[in-house]
């Protein structure tokens, strides 16, 4: 047992003991599960004499989460031992994750399935704390709704959320992303061929990439109208320069020895480009594609703040706040986060297949 684990276990047991003692102030039949959990937490202190398995800590964490969640409505306002139980439950989940990751660390790649438990525990703990704090402390839902309310809204308004997803992601993000990245790639090749463009265009590219998107967005709306075209244009402007800069750097990745070898084969410029330099630039290009995948979604959503037809993620987020439909805003944020992560994940998977030769992908294996 490491020093950190020892400390967490001590605090969890001690807090349980204190909470257990405090809980006797209220009538016994109230919140029986909560009291049982605190009592068990107190008993966990025997670990300093008899070792307890890490799965027992996991069970403690689950029991604690259930106990706290089911007793939210019982007290108004929630007493101190309720909050202590929340902290204890969180400490147990921390202890569990801490111990599990220590066990898995030496051979994590062989335990991918088991390794997933760690981030899932982390995420669930976050949701439980959010739910308990917002509902237990009666935070007004217009300031921060509990996750259960957001989940209900997510399930109830699938029609609205789907229409917004199609408008923002399918119509604005994807075309803008493809156009911006392709243009960046083509211009990068041109820049690479011409010293004049390299000296003249690249500094301007860097300058343009620093332009604030909230400055570009209203102008694009004026130029291309309110519908998805102006949002796609913002996405093009945002994705073009990361792609350009990364590809230019990537094209220089092939070493002189490799280029000299191509020359001894009497390879033409295009043959060298297609067979050596572009593949060598692959990791750089995929880097830009990954950066752009999340950038594109942000750009489209922000661009929708500046006038849209009455559909789209950005529209819903910006106007939902005004009509106090905060749960719908959070549901929209959840959809955007999932869509952005999935998009990034797809690009990362393609990268793994396309640049299989790169050390970062083959993990140092020959």
């Amino acid at each position: 047992m490491s020093q950190l684990q020892f400390f967490i276990a001590l605090v969890a047991g001690g807090l349980s003991a204190a909470g257990f003692a405090l809980s006797f102030v209220t009538p016994f039949e109230q919140a029986l599960l909560l009291k049982a959990f605190l009592g068990l937490g107190f008993l966990s202190l025997i670990r300093f004499f008899i070792p307890i398995g890490l799965w027992a800590d996991g069970a403690f964490a689950v029991l604690g989460a259930v106990a706290v969640l089911t007793s939210i409505g019982i007290f108004q306002p929630a007493p101190a031992f309720f909050w202590m139980a929340l902290i204890v439950a969180w400490l147990f989940s921390w202890l569990f994750v801490e111990r599990l990751s220590k066990v898995l660390a030496p051979r994590l790649s062989d335990n991918a399935g088991l390794g997933l438990i760690i981030p899932i525990t982390f995420g669930v703990a976050l949701l439980v704390i959010w739910e308990v704090v917002t509902r237990g402390a009666n935070v007004p839902p217009v300031l921060l709704p509990p996750p259960s309310m957001i989940g209900a809204q997510l399930a109830n308004s699938t029609g609205i959320l789907w229409a917004d997803f199609v408008q923002t992601f399918v119509k604005s993000v994807l075309p803008g992303y493809v156009m911006g990245c392709l243009a960046g790639l083509v211009v990068a090749v041109l820049v690479d061929r011409s010293p004049f463009l390299k000296a003249g265009l690249l500094p301007i590219g860097n300058f343009m990439s620093a332009l604030p998107i909230i400055g570009i967005a209203p102008i694009m709306v004026m130029w291309f109208g309110f519908d998805w075209q102006s949002k796609a244009a913002v996405v093009v402007a945002m994705t073009f320069f990361p792609m350009l800069v990364n590809t230019v750097a990537g094209l220089n990745a092939a070493s002189n020895i490799e280029r000299d070898l191509m020359r001894t084969y009497a390879a033409s410029y295009w043959q060298t480009l297609m067979k050596l330099r572009l593949p060598a630039a692959g990791p750089f290009i995929f880097n830009a594609l990954k950066i752009n995948s999340t950038l594109a979604l942000i750009g489209a959503i922000v661009a929708e703040f500046f006038g849209t037809p009455v559909v789209g993620m950005g529209f819903r987020i910006s106007t939902g706040v005004g009509r106090l439909a905060i749960d719908l805003v959070w549901a929209e944020i959840a959809v955007a986060a999932i869509a952005g992560s999935a998009f990034y994940g797809v690009i990362a998977l393609i990268e793994r297949g396309a640049t299989f030769w790169h050390p970062s992908v083959r993990g140092g294996r020959a």
């Binding site: 217009v142 006038g307 706040v321 005004g322 106090l324």
Partner: protein, 324 residues
């Protein structure tokens, strides 16, 4: 010794000064940026009418990303200026707002269409694009379309709705056939841009009987349990109405006060003077009480459009206006 004399002096000063400084502090959140739409409150502050009522008022400007209902729910303000539709919708979602006074008797909302769009009456709307403000300002439009039976979801035989910026750009650029304007603000911009009754078809929400109550004063319900608060609200409304009266009688001075109080420096004297004159037509400084007929119509329109789910109870109180 020196210290104790100093202490005595300080406490003596505090005792003598305390009654003069013990003003009731209230924070007012405006619905929009500092402009003559709120001339009454700005003039009352500037001319010391609040001080006369022993009030210390902090006026917070609003803006396109500020929802007054959210500010008051978070405890950032004591009183807010908002439209009744937004206020009742907020009440419906769990922010217990109560109307304590309604200085604005008529709506300043209009929809204007250039004559070349050949829209002359409501029946001509289908197939056209209409600009609407959102962020809680969309309710009167949707209630109107609902009353006329015109679909707004982009389906056949309905209208296309566009989220409009807070200016007349969408009309000038031809992105919308009709746009929303306030009589006291954007309509003035249209007049400056060469539009007017000759080349515009104007749909005035008030004249069509579709107006919902705008710019009322709202507080949180639980604060009305405290008699001291109710007393402070009463004095606040009294001083504010004095401000409105003064603004209507002295538009030039009121416009100058607004320009001086606008910290962003965006307000121009000419536009604020126009706005002061137009706003004066909507406000009745003599009677800030809520008109029940208009209230009932507002509630019905919101219920018909299911913006609110249940008939609101206790959404207004006359305790403040009765005490004037």
């Amino acid at each position: 010794m020196k210290k104790s004399i100093g202490g005595l002096l300080v406490s003596a000063l505090a005792l003598s000064a305390a009654p003069a400084f013990a003003q009731d502090a209230l924070t007012l959140q405006l619905k929009w940026v500092t402009q003559a739409q709120f001339a009454g409150y700005l003039v009352a502050e500037s001319k010391g009418f609040y001080d006369e009522e022993n009030l210390d008022i902090t006026i917070l400007p609003g803006g396109p990303n500020i929802a007054p209902e959210q500010v008051i729910a978070g405890g950032g303000a004591d009183i807010i200026v908002t439209w009744m539709a937004a206020g009742l919708a907020a009440r419906d979602t769990g922010v217990p707002l109560v109307n304590i006074a309604q200085p604005f008797k008529r709506s300043g909302l209009m929809m204007i269409c250039p004559t070349e769009t050949e829209i002359n009456e409501v029946a001509d709307f289908p197939g056209h694009t209409l600009g609407v403000w959102f962020f809680g300002n969309e309710y009167p439009f949707f209630a109107w379309m609902n009353k006329e039976g015109i679909a707004t979801d982009g389906s056949e035989g309905g209208v296309t709705v566009l989220q409009q910026s807070f200016d007349i750009q969408p009309m000038i650029q031809g992105q919308a056939d009709c746009i929303s304007v306030m009589t006291y603000n954007e309509y003035g911009q249209a007049l400056d841009a060469g539009y007017g009754p000759d080349n515009l078809t104007i749909f005035n929400y008030t004249e069509l009987g579709n107006d919902l109550l705008e710019d009322g004063l709202y507080v949180m319900e639980d604060s009305l349990d405290d008699p001291a608060k109710v007393d402070a609200y009463t004095r606040f409304v009294r001083a504010s109405m004095k401000g409105w009266e003064y603004a209507a009688a002295n538009p030039e001075e009121a416009a100058q006060i607004v320009v001086d109080m606008d910290e962003t420096g965006a307000a121009t004297l000419e536009h604020q003077l126009y706005m002061t004159g137009e706003v004066a037509k909507l406000v009745d400084p003599a009677d800030p009480a809520l008109d029940m007929a208009t209230y009932d119509r507002t509630v019905k329109a919101l219920l018909d459009q299911s913006i609110i789910k249940a008939e609101p109870e206790g959404a207004y109180t006359t305790v403040v206006t009765d005490g004037l």
